[in-house]
Each structure stands twice: as structure tokens, then as C-alpha cells.
Subunit: 476 residues, 2 copies
């Protein structure tokens, strides 16, 4: 008798699981229910679509619904929302979005891959016209349409728009980005590249709070160089409508009222857990669905992976919520393997992330925050160094700034943050440190790694090794 | 009583050792004897000096003799050649190059950092005018002067010089590079960029024989695109003089006689071991000076590091001769630390190397050759994959080709070779695999590494992870 694997959600985790399970066990029946129309898309590419560097939303789709159905033999139903799970009966209730009709579907294995949703801050005015988030393909579409519409206006094209425009009540093209995380920064770039006057509001004292201070500063400086007005330590209190009472016209902080015609909320995401909670599936300390190392929930044969689920931190071994694309792909794939008969863990999560901000690139991994490190039982020590991105004498190089954190007692590496000009390798260099974290290596190990060297790529000691040498020296 | 640390050789290994020893133990007397006039220089930068991208030899010097003497309090004597070691008396005999006078110098600790010398193949004609090697600063100087001289000739500047020029007896600017290793390839670029007609002769069936076949092919293809005439499987039999009987005029292979006005021999290096051998210091199986993990030779308190000495291979644990800059720096520094009182190993050598060839970059590490792997007790399996260097939809990306080798039984990673367009990250991505090799990780570990991802830097699964997934799949 054929087993049925039901997947709820058709993006990275869901489609990775479905594809892998079907590939490893072609006899398995694999059914995927997706509420929307898009599946298997790269949401990380949306800012570049809004910016205009990618010409169609379809380009962000890695595998189309037709390919899943016809080539991979997966029963993918878009426009179908799972509205209930009955773990005792091992069935899900599915509602067809188009007409509200429902159906019951039995499962032997079930994966919750319901993803995350944008957090909308609890302030007045977030429901006004002109207020956007960026989480879904339709968000991307709306934002791109907004950009096109705004740029067509005569007032937008007037030659007297300039650096002072954003302070003028009657100037077109003034926009606000709320939040200095990846989405906020990538959208600031996307909008500024389209000649908008961008003000970025960040509640904390620096953007990219999960990165090192040196990285945050480099990014903030660069945003300002590119004419983004970065307001740090600035909490947004309210969004205010204009004369029509419907469209946003200003953003209000403790100190001032800044006229804007559009607001992009980049204030984080939260896991979609309602369906799991209703079915009695445990939620973990991070607020996401709790799982074991195989992504199985407290309910047997029910798995959770991707942006709706917790993972295990590479360094601390504790639950962590890190809703990023690679984790979703990796854990989805592992669930597919497990369901097809080969139990697979799919690895831990180091909290690694990368971002490009105009012509700067940055990456972070592991634990950088000392309080967080202490809580996990470490005694964190941090060093930050600047090194040449290429040999000092080699043309056109820049600087790589590397922040490295290790445990004082053991020298064990805890985390890192790197920043350089775009193309000078901060992100790819971070790979070495991720590998070191994965293998519980120490800073004394790292300083002796035989990393590749040639003048067009680094100094004899790559910046990563320089950081390790300096930090190791402090611990001896 | 103050100890004396004598260092023979003033380049990477020697000066790293001297500086580190003096820094860690300021009471130590540190004496460095260097035959030539240059110390602490980046020989790896010489091709770019010849190319014209670096304007002075001085730019290649990281620390000047004056800085060593005045700021670091090191007794550095250039123009002084050590001609004998008496291990029983613990003295060295030093000859002043200028006048041939000698002196005796006592030591408590001695480091041989005598480096390597270019191998000149045993064929006729290598002593002709117009035949060069590239190992030392003076080699670099001569080559740059040759380039300038050749380009000034009227015949070089004639408009009818073109792709066919290299086949014409009377055409200026035809040059040959013998050897398809790093130096050969970097010099082919340097000369072609100066409008020479370059023919590259490689005895083996592919350039960069230590890299994977896929890497070699990509580099050979690119050299040809850049109009370098790459002759593979072609052994040079003789260099022939012109009418003056003094200057090279042709290069002779089994099949033909190719007119050239200059020949660059990039046929490898060999360790300078004569001084060690005379003093009864053991030479290892690779032909370089044998040492223990602390770079100490069989003679107590006599160390050897850098291009004259063996190292221990990261993967096999066997002696290896890998004369590269980082090893010299790292092991020199470790000897300095040891001499100053903190015994330090300075790590193993994975045989990691990087090279740029025009607009292509490549790196290799570990063991790729299956015969070599089997000899070390492994059962090597290799996979090669192509992946996007950035997200497929992101502008201006290219391809990264990753070759990965692991042991069939255990999955342990053995080696890798990567190639991409310059700037697309093959070299910096190799760092992750070096780290994995250093930690004896398996391909099953690597496929789950939480490497940084964002669309401007990779696909969700970085090319390194794609290679690991494919190879791991084959081993399951």
C-alpha cells in the first residue's frame, strides 16, 4: 500500500521536501497544498525585482507548478488552503480558495511548511494606502507597480528634486523604510536606485543589529554616502494620512513629522503557527514550531520545517528561530529524505546571513552578542581587524573588516561578522568561519588554516587569518 | 645570559621567525643573514610588476631592512651569505658578498630559511641571452626591463603584428613561456597584456596539473580566448640561438621550431638544501629539509621553514613539499614563537593554492589525484558540478565549477578544485573546503554547512554545497 506524504505550503521547505521524497521514493504519493498561486520562489530576490534588476516575477521561480506536476509527479494544488489538521484521524481539511469548498485529505506523513509573515508594528496608520511590507510575490508586484507609478508623475521628474527634497511637504518621491534589517536595507537600495528620497528609520542604535558594530557602522556610513537618510535610535510612533484620509503622507517619530508618500515596513517576520497550535502541536521557546533533530514535532509523523519552525543552533545547541532560505531548503530536503525512508537531520543553524547594501557586502555567523554568549555558558572575547582585500600592492583592492568572537577559556570560535566592498569577498570569506563553527574549531585552529593565497585575492594571511591571529594572541 | 637566534635567509620564513621571536622575547639577540639585498618581499607579486600593474619593486616589500633594524631591533645583515654551519660548535660561517671576508657567528637557535630556486630544465640553450626565470626580485627587474626594451622597438609597434605574428621569423614580440604552472600562467598573462605574442609550452596534457581537469580545461580555454597559444603535451627539446650565437631565437619541440625572441622558464622550483646537507642535516623523501612538527631538524635547535623545508600534509599526515608563501610565513612565525619559549607547530599544509589567469580565478586544496589518494589509504571518489556564482536571476553572475573528492568508505573530504570568472569567488569559496579538510570533516558534514546566502553572492545552496550534495548522494 502506498504511503501519502502531505505538505502544507509550496515554497522552499515544502517543495524541497516534496521533491526529495518523491525522488527517493517514487512510489510515495506526494500532495502539496499551497494557498497562493506561486510556489518555489526566491523571495530573497524580491528587492532586486522592485529595484528593476530583475525583469519578471517568473524569473524568481526555480521550478514551475507545471514542472512539479508533470516532471516530478507531485500532486501540487495551488489556491488550496489547509484550514485544519486532525492528528488522530491523520487527515487535513483543505479549503479551495476560489469557491470555499472543502475536502479531507488523509496523510501518513505531514509537513508543516507554512512559512512566516511580515510583522506589522502595532502603531496607528499601518493600514493606510501607500504602506507596504515585502514578504510575498504579490507584495513585490505591488511595490514594483508603485515605483513605476510614482516615477511617472511629473513632480517626480522635476529637476529641483534633490537632497533637500525629502524635507519638503510638496516634493514627490519621498519614501520611508522602517527597519534596518536585510529587507529594510535592500529596499532602501532598491528605492534610492530609483531616485526616491529614502529615509531609513531604525529603532536600535545601529542597522543590522545581528552583525558586529563594525559591520553596522560600515553599512550605515555607506547608506549615507548613497544619500539614504539613516535615522538611528528612532522609533516610529504613527503613520499619518494626507488630505484624502486614506493615503499615507507622513511618518511621526518622537521628535518630528517627516513627510513621505510611501512607507515600507521591514520590521521582521514571525512564524505562521496558528494551524499547528490548533492541532495541538508544540510551539518552542522562540515562538516557532518546536521540532526534534529530524524536524519532527511532538505529534508523530508530523514535521515542521522552514520559516515556521525552530532549528538547533550550531554553537549553543539550543533552539533558534532563523527564518532563512538555506535552512528552509536544507531542512525541507532532510524531511523529504526521512519520509522516504532515510532518517536525515539536515544540520544545525549557525544564524549565518549575508546582505548587500549598494556597493558594500556583509556576512555574519554564530554568536557575536556577549550576553547571548554568556547565557550559553561561554566567556566571549571579540576582536575586530581591518585587512587588505587583495595584496596591498595589487590594484583596486579594498578593505575587509573582520570581527571574530571566541570563548576566552577554550578558544572555541563563537561567531564572526565581515564587511567589505561588494566583490571584495566578505561574504565568501565568511564560509571558512562557518565551517570552523560547524566543526567546533578554536581560534588556534583557524589561525593555522592553509587558506588559498595569491595577490589578486588577499594578502598572504587572508583577513580571516589576520583576525584569528590577533584574537588568538589575546587569549594566550 | 642572552640567547642568540640566527636566521639564514631574509624572506618570508626568515623574517617572520625573526620578528616573532624578537617580539615575544625582546631579550633575544636575533641575527639575520641574507645573501641578497632584498628582504621580506612578496615574490608572488613579481608577475604583476612585470605586467606593469605594480610600479615599483619596493611596493612588494612589506617591511624594509631599516624597519627591521630600527623598529624591530633585529640585526639584519644583507649581502651576507652563510657558507657553513658547524652544529657541534653551534656556529655559522658567514661570507660578506662585497669583499669575500668571513666571520663566525655563534647561535643558540638556528633557522634555515634558504628558500627555493627556479629549476632550469637540462636542455641545450638555457644559458642564452633572452632566457629568463622568475624567482627573485632581480629576475623581476630584468624581465620588466626586457618588456620595456622589446616594446620600444619599431618592429614591435608595427601595425601588421597580429595573431599570425608568432609564426613569422621576422616578427618582433614573439615569446615563449615554458611550463603551465602558476608562474607560467601568470607570466603568460603579464606578457600578453603587454601585446607580446605568447606561446605556452606545457609538457603535460593540461596546465595546472595539481588542479582538477575541469579547472585546467577552463583555464586553458580562457588562455586561448585571450590569444595565448597553448601547446599541451609538448616537450621543449632545445633553445636555439640566432645569428649572434648568443641570443635565443627559437624554441624546438619534437614537431617544430617556433621562432621566439624571449623564453620564460616557469618549470618549477627546488629547495635550496646544500648548506643543510653539508652540515649533516637530514633531507626528507620530498628532497626538502626534513623537520618534525615544530620544524626542528634532526640537529637539535636547528630549524628549517619555508621553501627549503618539508611540511606535513593536512590530509595524509605525510611529508609534503609545498613551497608557498603562507606556509613560509606561518611556519617561520611558529619557529619564532618556539624559539621565544612557546613551542608552536604552525599547522599542516593542505597544498592549497590560488591563481588568476586573465579574467579567470582558480583554487585547489588537498588531494585530488586518485593515485595519490589511494597511496594514502583512501578510496577517492570525485564529482564536478557547475553552479551559478550568484542567484540565477541576479544580474551579471557567472559559473563556479567545483570539483570535490572524498573517500568512498567514510565520506571524508580529501580535496577540491574550483574555478570561476575573476571576482565570482572560486578562490574565497575554497576557504570553506580548506576549513573542512583541516577539521577532517566529511562530505556529509559539508552538505549541511550553514553557509551565507543572498542573491548577489550565490544560489541558496552555494556551489560548494551543491558539489557536496551531489558527491554525498553518490556515496550513500
Amino acid at each position: 500500500m502506498t504511503d501519502t506524504f502531505v505538505v502544507i505550503g509550496g515554497d522552499a521547505a515544502g517543495m524541497s521536501a516534496a521533491s526529495k521524497a518523491k525522488r527517493d521514493d517514487p512510489d510515495l504519493e506526494v500532495d502539496v497544498f499551497e494557498t497562493g498561486e506561486w510556489v518555489s520562489y526566491g523571495a530573497c530576490g524580491l528587492p532586486y525585482y522592485v529595484k528593476g534588476e530583475i525583469q519578471s516575477l517568473e524569473a524568481l521561480v526555480s521550478v514551475t507548478p507545471e514542472e512539479f506536476r508533470e516532471e516530478r509527479d507531485i500532486d501540487l494544488r495551488t489556491g488550496h488552503e489547509v484550514v485544519g489538521i486532525d492528528p488522530d484521524e491523520r487527515t487535513v481539511t483543505v479549503e479551495r480558495v476560489a469557491d470555499g469548498t472543502t475536502l479531507e485529505q488523509a496523510y501518513d506523513h505531514l509537513l508543516l511548511a507554512t512559512g512566516a509573515e511580515a510583522v506589522v508594528p502595532s502603531i496607528e496608520g499601518t493600514d493606510l494606502e501607500g504602506v507596504y511590507t515585502l514578504g510575498s510575490m504579490s507584495d513585490g508586484k505591488e511595490l514594483r507597480e508603485y515605483v513605476a507609478r510614482a516615477r511617472e508623475k511629473e513632480s517626480f521628474q522635476q529637476p529641483d528634486r534633490g537632497p533637500a527634497c525629502r524635507y519638503l511637504e510638496d516634493c514627490a518621491g519621498r519614501v520611508a523604510v522602517v527597519g534596518g534589517g536585510y529587507v529594510g536595507i535592500e529596499m532602501a537600495e532598491a528605492l534610492a536606485a530609483n531616485a526616491f528620497e529614502v529615509t531609513l528609520f531604525q529603532r536600535g542604535e545601529r542597522p543590522l543589529t545581528g552583525f558586529s558594530e563594525a559591520t553596522s557602522e560600515a553599512v550605515a556610513d555607506h547608506l549615507r554616502e548613497r544619500d539614504v537618510d539613516v535615522r538611528l535610535g528612532t522609533e516610529v510612533r504613527e503613520l499619518v494620512a494626507g488630505e484624502d484620509s486614506e493615503t499615507v503622507a507622513a511618518i511621526v517619530t518622537a521628535d518630528e513629522r517627516v513627510p513621505v508618500e510611501m512607507v515600507l515596513l521591514g520590521t521582521g517576520v514571525r512564524p505562521r503557527t496558528a494551524l499547528a497550535e490548533d492541532a495541538g502541536i508544540d510551539i518552542g521557546p522562540t515562538g516557532a514550531i518546536a521540532t526534534d533533530a529530524y524536524r519532527e514535532t511532538n505529534v508523530p509523523d508530523v514535521y515542521a520545517a522552514g520559516d515556521c519552525a525552530e532549528a538547533t543552533h550550531t554553537v549553543t545547541g539550543e533552539p533558534v528561530y532563523a527564518p532563512l532560505a538555506l535552512t528552509a531548503n536544507r531542512h525541507g530536503r532532510a524531511v523529504g529524505q526521512t519520509v522516504a525512508g532515510t532518517p536525515s537531520e539536515g544540520g544545525t543553524v549557525a544564524g549565518t546571513a549575508a546582505v548587500k547594501a549598494f556597493e558594500v557586502e556583509a556576512a555574519r555567523t554564530g554568536i557575536l552578542d556577549h550576553a547571548e554568549g554568556r547565557e550559553a555558558g561561554f566567556d566571549p572575547v571579540t576582536e575586530t581587524i581591518d585587512a587588505n582585500s587583495r595584496a596591498g600592492y595589487y590594484p583596486e583592492g579594498g578593505t575587509v573588516t573582520v570581527t571574530l568572537t571566541a570563548d576566552r577559556e577554550t578558544g572555541r570560535l563563537l561567531g564572526a561578522s565581515l564587511v567589505s566592498e561588494y566583490g571584495e569577498g566578505a561574504v565568501h570569506r565568511s564560509h571558512a568561519i562557518v565551517a570552523a563553527l560547524e566543526e567546533s574549531a578554536t581560534v588556534f585552529d583557524l589561525e593555522n588554516y592553509d587558506l588559498a593565497y595569491a595577490p589578486p585575492f588577499n594578502s598572504t594571511w587572508d583577513s580571516v587569518l589576520v583576525a584569528a591571529k590577533v584574537l588568538a594572541g589575546n587569549l594566550r
